[in-house]
């Protein structure tokens, strides 16, 4: 620790290094945060392009644009890139930028490891994306890569996919350790746990989830690696293995993973809604307990993804009840946000628009989650477009809108300029309409019986698929506008004051905008 602190003290009066070495060698939380965010947005566009290919093929019945093998590669890569490349790194980027500013720390606790956990990511994704150009093509077994489709029957590139997952796993675990070390050790004097901003709380809990489940993911892909290359039969029934074991291990990682993708957004929205309601967050303590309860429960619900695999009825009932239970703390959070808005003095700048849409649409995703939790009904919903609708409602207006809301909220702090409000509102409304057009009809398609992950479909599904594709194109194209808005905001615009939002609270608003390269060299005092 002291060695790091010393070099820092010497560098203190210098700005950032010049040229490429600034980015390659930086240990500054703001630079690393920026790199995470830029990387995440690049992956968002790449994964989005793949989604456009999928929706173009599904625009009409029949095979028009791609063949089924390539279609499967697109759905798989889309899922993997969005989950591991877009959503997770975006939250790590926000954590890097904001956690030290929110708790009054000079930087992350482990700055060199911070550099390394970022630079592992581009390496992992270079490997993953390169599989598209390999003989036999990219992974084509879905982002859930069920064995034995991904082992005995997987393409030759599967081993590279496994390697990429290992690397991004290491990156995530290091990032999580850093977050925990920072939050537990570097809080400003006087900031007790129950005075921590909610974004800090949700990230602390998320980091524990990451440390708990990323090794499980590493374990399951290692078992695959052994099955493929070293003659074991963990998941191969003909060698005495168990294909269902794969699903248990995967979802033991997978369900907490879905909360990893939403809890930081819960935190961010819990800052934005009070700021634009000009009223303190309702039920701070119950928000913290709810997140804790969700995180704990998320370890005991995994088999709700496996209601049709034939687990015994006792197991079926347990997982049904546990999953229904998770709706209670989730509900508490929604009620708290609404109560915060109730009788406030509301205004609707872009961060608030995204945050309000987050609450409404995430709740719709929660409703379909509750429906999916009813095991007998899930026999009808499972692996249809109803599930696709569910998780896109919790992830697009959930995680992604949460990220957009955060970006607009803190852009003035990052760049020192106000973004263009008119363009940002346009971005919001086009995203909102496009997203609902794309994903709402998927509920109907699933209920009418359309399975997921198919490149072609029966004629009765044609109308809604076309609507959905139109919505998807609209949503996709709109995201280029976000790029424009951010570039514009970085390059100029109205000067932002230290606290550009009159209702905002927190230490991050006590430093000037843009935040200087080094902040809180001496910790602030929290009353």
């Amino acid at each position: 620790m002291s060695a790091v602190a010393d070099t820092h003290a010497q560098e203190h009066h210098h700005g950032p290094a010049k040229g490429i070495s600034r980015w390659l060698l930086t240990t500054n939380h703001k630079d690393i945060g920026t790199m995470y965010l830029v990387f995440s947005f690049a992956m968002f566009l790449l994964g989005g392009t793949m989604a456009m290919v999928i929706r173009a093929e599904l625009f009409q019945p029949g095979l028009q644009i791609v063949n089924p093998e390539f279609f499967n590669q697109m759905t798989t890569m889309h899922g993997l890139i969005m989950v591991f490349g877009a959503v997770m790194p975006a939250f790590v980027g926000l954590a890097n930028w904001m956690l030290p500013l929110m708790i009054g720390a000079p930087d992350m606790a482990l700055p060199r490891m911070n550099n390394w956990s970022f630079w592992l990511l581009p390496c992992a994704f270079l490997i993953l994306v390169s599989t598209l150009f390999m003989e036999g093509g990219a992974p084509n077994f879905g982002w859930t890569f069920y064995a034995p489709l991904s082992t005995t029957y997987g393409p030759p590139s599967t081993t590279f996919f496994i390697f990429a997952v290992h690397i991004m796993g290491i990156s995530s675990i290091m990032g999580a350790i850093n977050v925990i070390a920072t939050i537990l050790n570097l809080r400003a004097p006087g900031m007790t746990l129950m005075k921590m901003p909610l974004f800090v709380w949700t990230w602390l809990i998320t980091a524990f989830l990451l440390i708990a489940v990323m090794p499980v993911l590493a374990g399951v892909v290692t078992m695959m690696l052994m099955d493929i290359n070293f003659g074991t039969s963990f998941f191969d029934a003909s060698g005495g293995g168990d294909p269902v074991l794969f699903q248990h291990v995967f979802w033991f990682f997978g369900h907490p993973e879905v909360y990893i993708m939403i809890l930081p957004a819960f935190g961010a929205v819990s800052h934005i809604i009070p700021a634009f309601s000009r009223k303190p967050l309702f039920g701070y303590a119950s928000m913290v307990y709810a997140v804790g309860a969700i995180a704990l429960l998320s370890f005991v619900v995994w088999a709700h993804h496996m209601f049709t695999v034939g687990i015994p009825i006792a197991g079926q009932l347990f997982f049904m009840y546990a999953t229904m239970l998770i709706a209670v703390p989730t509900g508490v959070k929604v009620f708290n946000w609404v109560a915060t808005m109730f009788r406030g003095a509301l205004s609707f700048e872009a961060p608030m628009l995204f945050a309000v849409a987050f609450v409404i649409l995430f709740t719709i995703g929660g409703f379909s989650g509750l429906m999916l939790a009813i095991a007998p009904a899930d026999f009808q919903y499972h692996d249809t477009y109803f599930v696709v609708a569910h998780f896109h409602y919790v992830l697009v207006p959930g995680a992604i809108f949460g990220i957009f809301a955060s970006a607009y909220f803190w852009l003035p702090k990052w760049t020192g300029h106000m973004y263009d409000e008119t363009l940002a509102k346009t971005h919001f409304w086009l995203s909102f309409v496009g997203m609902n057009l794309a994903f709402f009809p998927m509920h109907f398609l699933g209920l009418a019986g359309m399975p997921r992950r198919i490149p072609d479909y029966a004629l009765q599904f044609a109308d809604f698929n076309m609507v959905s594709s139109v919505g998807a194109f609209m949503f996709g194209a709109t995201q280029l506008l976000f790029l424009l808005i951010v570039v514009k905001c970085v390059r100029g615009g109205k000067k932002a004051s230290a606290k550009p939002w009159d209702g905002a609270e927190g230490l991050e608003w006590t430093v000037p905008s843009p935040a200087p390269y080094h902040t809180f060299a001496t910790p602030p005092e929290v009353k």
Binding site: T152, F335, L447
Partner: protein
């Protein structure tokens, strides 16, 4: 307050769409034709309405705030930030709703798991990319393949009414009887789904899953494979024909007779032309999905057969790979999927089609002997 209420009313009115015909736009789950599917449907509707009700309350309060508590209208913010009673209430009430919901769900689940006292047992096996149905007590079985022509899929022909939901041999079951399905798979995981029965169960290699149905209305019911199982996952539908009991008995008798005839065919003397003709049909259903109709394959996953060294020279190797498959690849063991006649015909066809003019002929008897030696 009054003004607000009026404005809110106007807003709601604007949101309510003009009557819109959804004639071809199915919105909801099918109630189906079995007791299970009906129970599921009512669970679905109950939970849906619960969600709608909660939604109206929550979004109602929210829209009210959005509408009435705006800064631009000079609304001054209140400053409350907790209320223990309210917080306890909105934890306990949802919990109670969920308990109430769990009761019928549990009952339905128990019923779905009760596979005892079945009257007909059918083993369903998932293959890449077709279903096999074996009537366990009747000693016959067959494969069920997609029958939609490739030309329709590739947009060279107008798509038929049951596009992608039609098969050559549907599963036939009697109405009014409890039918038990035993599900497994030969290669990867598949999932057998008929929405109108409320039956969906994964078919997993190395496992046997059980489920059941009792259909009271004769008819044709269509579903699909719902677990991603490789490239033709979207092209392995499930079609079930429920028929009255007498018709079912007759059909079973016919099938048994046909199975016996098939076994006799093995003994017949075949000519090259006859085998080629039969081989072409068998090739199109069993092999063409991977190796392509013109034998060109899709290397590297699916090698070409046209001009292949094994096909041109190594007869023993050729028979072995078709009968026993090649482990670790998508090449299945067709030995127990096809009859001896079809195996012989397909091998003969592959050795003589697309310019592979070896002139070799493999007879059903040779295959029969080959299998017995193993």
């Amino acid at each position: 307050m009054r003004v607000h209420a009026q404005r809110a009313g106007a807003l709601l009115g604007g949101l309510a769409f003009p009557a819109w015909s959804f004639a071809d736009w199915t919105l909801n789950l099918t109630p189906g034709v079995t007791s299970t599917s009906n129970e599921i449907y009512s669970l679905h509707m109950i939970i849906l309405w619960i969600c709608v009700a909660i939604g109206i309350v929550v979004f109602g309060v929210m829209f009210w705030s959005i509408f009435a508590h705006r800064k631009s209208q000079g609304h001054k913010p209140a400053n409350f930030h907790e209320n223990t009673l309210v917080e306890i209430l909105w934890t306990v009430i949802p919990f109670i709703i969920l308990v109430v919901m769990a009761i019928p769900a549990t009952a339905t689940l128990v019923d779905m798991y009760d596979t005892d006292e079945s009257e007909v047992d059918i083993k369903v096996t998932g293959y890449q990319w077709k279903w096999q149905y074996e009537y366990i007590n009747e000693d016959f079985g067959y494969f069920s393949n997609l029958s939609t022509p490739r030309a329709q899929i590739n947009n060279q022909q107008k798509k038929g009414e049951n596009y992608l939901l039609e098969v050559d041999n549907p599963l036939v079951i009697p109405v009014g009887k409890k039918v038990r399905f035993l599900l497994t798979a030969n290669d990867v995981i598949h999932s057998w789904w008929v929405p109108e029965f409320g039956v969906k169960k994964d078919a997993i290699p190395g496992f046997i899953n059980e489920t059941w149905t009792r259909v009271d209305k004769p008819g044709i019911y269509r579903g699909q494979c719902t677990e991603l199982c490789g490239k033709d996952h979207g092209f392995m539908p499930v079609v079930v024909k429920a028929v009255p009991e007498e018709e079912y008995t007759m059909w079973v008798a016919e099938q048994k007779e046909a199975a016996a005839k098939e076994r006799e065919l093995t003994q017949k003397e075949w000519t090259l032309e006859e085998l080629m003709e039969r081989g072409e049909t068998a090739y199109q259903t069993a092999c063409a999905a991977c190796h392509q109709a013109d034998g060109s394959g899709m290397p590297p996953a699916f090698p070409a057969l046209k001009g292949s060294q094994m096909v041109l020279e190594d007869i023993a190797g050729h028979i072995d790979i078709v009968v026993n498959g090649k482990s670790g690849t998508a090449m299945q063991a067709f030995g127990n999927q096809l009859s001896e006649v079809d195996l012989a015909a397909v091998i003969t066809y592959e050795r003589n089609a697309w310019g592979n003019n070896t002139g070799d002929m493999v007879t059903p008897k040779e295959i029969f002997d080959y299998k017995n030696e193993q």
